[in-house]
């Protein structure tokens, strides 16, 4: 076989493989979207050929509390990321710059929050939350979401701070700037790629979280992941409505992921100052 033919064959095989993989990966999404357009009657009797209807969308958007669920999701996921950034960036700075007792142990401890399966900690948390009055509150959920978002932000941003020469801060000091000016003017722009990508990733994780809100909230506050299951609990299972709820709630994650995918890999793997 000539080299060009070999190359062509390789390209065909590669693209064929990718095509198969994309069908494999995207088929559940497609299936879900198809479900949203089916009426309950056709749900189990048809596959691809059916009479499309928008009834499910109308039902979900206008006759249920769908927007309240979305609002709850935005508040808890957004709040969690905000708290993580406000507390995590100074923590990352401290881990990068200062020497203190058991520094590495504490840093590892923070990372280890991500190790335990949520289901393991959620029952004790449930009882603690009941006692503290944090059960079914925004504050409670935002707090517990720190387990998801804080370690990631601290570890990514710490790496960025470590890559910035401490001499830049010293130079600015000699130049007569105080630390906050240095932070805003120089450090923040340098850590931005890491901060933005890790914060968006955290937002997605928090948005998708299911176990925590299922058990620690659910009466007054219902993030969309939990609310989507409601359509199961009624006498008939409204697959179509559930699919609509799931489809719309997956949109932010998908949109974010597409927007940041380029920066995500870069932001999480590259340091701040190169060359």
């Amino acid at each position: 076989m000539s080299p060009t033919a070999k190359k062509r064959l390789y390209a065909v095989l590669k693209n064929g493989g990718l095509a198969i993989y994309s069908v494999f990966a995207l088929f559940p999404l497609l299936w879900m979207v198809i479900l949203t357009f089916k009426s309950d009657a056709e749900m189990l009797t048809t596959t691809f050929v059916f009479t499309p209807t928008l009834d499910n969308y109308k039902q979900v958007l206008f006759y249920t509390d769908y927007f309240r669920y979305i609002k709850d999701s935005v508040i808890v996921a957004g709040g969690a990321v905000l708290v993580s950034v406000l507390a995590g960036v100074p923590a990352a700075y401290a881990f990068a710059r200062y020497e203190f007792k058991n520094k590495e142990k504490i840093a590892f401890q923070i990372l280890s929050f991500k190790f335990a399966p949520e289901i393991l900690v959620v029952l004790p948390l449930y009882m603690i939350y009941q006692k503290l009055g944090l059960y079914d509150s925004y504050l409670g959920l935002i707090w517990v979401y720190q387990l998801i978002s804080m370690p990631l932000i601290i570890w990514v941003v710490r790496g960025y701070f470590e890559d910035i020469s401490v001499e830049i801060e010293h130079a600015a000091q000699v130049d007569g700037y105080n630390w906050y000016q240095v932070f805003l003017k120089f450090l923040l722009p340098l850590i931005k790629p890491g901060l933005v990508s890790s914060a968006l990733l955290c937002f997605i994780f928090a948005w998708n979280s299911f176990t925590f809100p299922l058990l620690l909230a659910g009466i007054k506050i219902e993030p969309i992941t939990v609310a989507a299951t409601k359509y199961l609990a009624q006498s008939t299972v409204h697959y179509g409505q559930m699919a609509v709820a799931a489809t719309i709630s997956a949109l932010p994650s998908i949109i974010f992921a597409i927007c940041i995918q380029k920066h995500l890999v870069r932001g999480l793997s590259f340091g701040a100052v190169k060359g």
Partner: protein, 373 residues
């Protein structure tokens, strides 16, 4: 311009994370130093000797544990770095990455609120002085190491400091660039004649640049003198070994008396070197001491030489000079010669020593044992 006076300066780190192996845990221990107006002083020593800590205390980036630092008549211990009238050139260049070279240099002047027109004039003058005019519009990431160092120094001197501090400015440059920047720094010093403190671990840089060298080890100042003083007249074994490339041959020896003469003898070696008469009052039969002699002060004797016959263990032809290594017990004794003869491993040479240039060091303390004259 002003002189810099350091009086009984101490630095102690209480940090738990850091492990200091210095005397009494002091990173800088009772340092006294004076740089005269316009003088170029090098702080020289191995890593961890306290030289950078000293520099950072002068700059105000490090707290002073005890002691005083004066610039001119002003005690600067409690002044903010920006009020000390110093310029600092950093080891890692420490440029502000989002700013152009021009803005990097102008940054300090802007912070001080210097008028716009004057800033421009001063930045361009300094850029001209440092030969980096063509770099002004570039971003720091695009610069090579040597260019970054030019800008770094330009940034330090644009503020017209009373004291220019340089923290190992050449240590990240490769050999050739290092040499040419060394010449640049020398030229710069001649042109602006600013009192300068230069931290380095490279004795060659210190020897070539400095008017006076302060050699430090374990936080303690060992010797402070002109390059020739520290080279010819080291106060102890540490200074003797640190200055000079290749380093001074320092070997443990036992003095024996043979009739009326004393000789240095070496373990597991036939080598005997006549003890110069000026040391006779210091030595006795069986006296154990360290003997030091620079490679330049050893030479190969001619055919009628009475020097010890020794076997060549290593021969390096460096073009300008040739280095011969002779095994003395466990040690390698190096000698440098300009003689064109090419030796081979195993050749026998007559080793001669310039007795006037030998130094003796105490076996325990490493202190120099001086002759009567």
């Amino acid at each position: 311009m002003a002189n810099l006076t350091i009086k009984n300066l101490f630095k102690r780190y209480d940090n738990v994370g850091k492990k200091t192996k210095t005397v009494n845990d002091y990173a800088v221990n009772d340092l006294c130093l004076t740089c005269n107006d316009g003088e170029f002083v090098a702080l020289l020593g191995p890593s961890g000797c306290g030289k950078t800590t000293t520099l950072r205390m002068i700059a105000g980036l490090e707290e002073i544990t005890k002691g005083d630092i004066y610039i001119g008549e002003t005690r600067i211990n409690d002044l903010h770095p920006k009020d000390r009238h110093i310029g600092l050139a950093f080891e890692d260049y420490a440029m502000y990455p989002p700013l152009t070279v021009y803005d990097n240099i102008a940054f300090n002047l802007r912070a001080k609120g210097v008028a716009k027109g004057e800033i421009d004039g001063r930045v361009r003058d300094i850029a001209k002085l440092m030969h980096c005019e063509e770099l002004l519009d570039m971003m720091p990431v695009k610069l090579s190491g040597g260019q970054k160092q030019r800008v770094n120094i330009a940034r330090a001197i644009v503020r017209r400091p009373e004291i220019l501090l340089m923290d190992e400015p050449l240590s990240h440059l490769d050999g050739k660039m290092r040499q040419s920047m060394r010449v640049e720094i020398k030229r710069l010093h001649i042109e602006i004649n600013c009192t300068s403190v230069y931290v380095t671990h490279d004795q060659l840089e210190a020897m070539s640049l400095a008017d006076r060298i302060a050699i430090m080890d374990l936080g303690v100042l060992q010797q402070f003198g002109t390059p020739m003083e520290v080279y010819d007249d080291p106060v102890n074994e540490f200074v003797a070994a640190f200055i000079g490339e290749p380093p001074m041959n320092i070997l443990e020896t036992t003095v024996i008396k043979d009739e009326n003469d004393f000789f240095f003898t070496f373990a597991e070696s036939e080598l005997r070197i006549l003890v110069p008469a000026r040391y006779y009052s210091k030595v006795r039969d069986g006296f154990r001491v360290k003997m030091g002699v620079r490679p330049m002060d050893l030479y190969v004797g001619g055919p009628e030489s009475k020097g010890n016959p020794e076997r060549v263990a290593v021969f390096e032809n460096l073009g300008d000079e040739r280095r011969i290594g002779v095994r003395v017990g466990e040690h390698m004794m190096m000698l440098i010669t300009n003689d064109e003869t090419r030796y081979r491993h195993g050749d026998i040479i007559r080793l001669e020593v310039n007795g006037e240039k030998t130094h003796l060091f105490d076996l325990e303390t490493g202190d120099r044992i001086r002759s009567d004259r």
